[in-house]
């Protein structure tokens, strides 16, 4: 126990004081793909006292190339990522508190999910959820760290409430997402470098070393050997709807869509109406003469055209479908 953090304590900017502070802090990680698993492992090993893991998805084989906490067994069992990540992290460090939450983060639940957070770590995969994080972070005055990558390119930015420009200041509006890891691929080193920047900024913030913060928007391309940093201080907008003087938090106060096509995936997500009884659903599916596979968190079955995954929290993924209107019909067939 006393030896565990000795090398980190010997690092002067942290020291015993910093280590004690880390033990008192809570980081909420939203998204447990490549970035989320990388930063979660570093934060748990570093001794951050409470780490909350939130993800809506389950482990698939295509994740194993870079999502470092997952094993073949997790993919075979289709474990929810938050659950699989927690299992592994508890083996790594049993002295910190790790909470796993299998939920879709929405405008409705995000304030509850980040209530304990000293910092929100962004490890998501789309702009819409980041704008939502940006709103809640501004409203509750919680620092958050943007991180994203695609191919060999990565970027990161630290948002400090009432201090730096927020994401909404920098982007003005919700952009269309063009490149995703599904369309352009991703190499693991790009992930690791973004996560390393994010975790380092986190360690600085949690140990009170604000003077050491990077204070730039940073990007790099590991394959073409380029790096760029921009001081964006001048872009802070006093009239920003998310962080300005008369903020209205437009993404936090928006209404979530019921049927959403997941970016870059041939999949529509349906947000359900509350928790779902998976055993009952399994019986209904079997009554139709179809096969299904169930674990405590989700039930999966296949139709002629679709693979459908129903989660206990009420959400449904319809794979093999990109059109929300078609998805509504499929949903009505099996869930009404």
């Amino acid at each position: 126990m006393t030896d565990r953090y000795s090398r980190q304590i010997r690092f002067r900017p942290i020291g015993q004081d910093g280590q004690d502070q880390l033990a008192e802090r809570c980081v909420v990680i939203i998204g447990l793909g490549a970035l989320g698993t990388a930063s979660a492992e570093q934060l748990v090993r570093a001794g951050v006292g409470q780490v909350t893991l939130i993800d809506r998805d389950y482990v698939e084989w295509s994740n194993l190339q870079r999502q470092q906490l997952y094993t073949e067994r997790d993919a075979r069992e289709r474990l929810p990522k938050a659950v699989a990540a927690k299992q592994r992290l508890c083996e790594v460090n049993s002295t910190v508190t790790i909470e796993a939450i299998v939920e879709d983060v929405t405008a409705t639940n995000i304030e509850r999910l980040v209530a304990q957070a000293d910092l929100i770590m962004d490890a998501t995969d789309n702009f819409a959820i980041r704008m939502l994080i940006n709103d809640v972070a501004a409203k509750r005055e919680i620092p958050w760290i943007y991180g994203a990558c695609v191919a060999s390119y990565g970027m990161t930015y630290t948002v400090l409430p009432k201090e730096t420009p927020c994401l909404h200041c920098l982007l003005n509006h919700l952009p269309q997402q063009q490149d995703t890891c599904d369309t352009r691929g991703i190499i693991s080193p790009a992930v690791q470098l973004v996560a390393s920047h994010q975790v380092t900024e986190t360690l600085k913030l949690l140990t009170g070393a604000k003077a050491a913060l990077r204070r730039t928007l940073l990007s790099f391309d590991l394959w073409t050997n380029q790096q760029s940093q921009i001081d964006v201080t001048s872009l802070k907008q006093a009239a920003c709807p998310s962080c300005g003087d008369a903020a209205v938090y437009p993404y936090l106060n928006g209404t979530p869509l019921q049927f959403v096509t997941l970016c870059g995936r041939d999949t529509v997500q349906v947000r359900g109406e509350g928790k779902r009884d998976l055993v009952r659903l399994e019986n209904e599916i079997r009554a139709r003469g179809m096969k299904s596979q169930r674990n405590p968190y989700l039930l999966m079955f296949e139709t002629e055209q679709h693979r459908i995954v129903a989660f206990a929290d009420g959400r449904i993924l319809i794979h093999g479908e990109a059109d929300p209107e078609q998805a509504k019909q499929t949903y009505a067939t099996y869930f009404k």
């Binding site: 390119y153 952009p175 991703i186 940073l218 760029s228 921009i230």
Partner: protein, 76 residues
Amino acid sequence: MQTTRGGEYMQIRLNGKDYPLAEQTKTLHDLIQQLNIDEEVVIIEQNHQIIDRSRYMDTNVQSGDVVEIVHFVGGG
């Protein structure tokens, strides 16, 4: 290939590396088109000054400019 404009080699410093300017690259708008970057997710600093997104069309790129471009991506 470096190109010339009026007999002068056209080259900028882009994200810390030398970058030859094509003949038709006159403005920041042209530059990000050439780089195939989506204009709405980009932040550009030219000679240590951030250029407003609405001005890319009429901001010229000159040989010797120091340009930093960061574009937002969504993946993770």
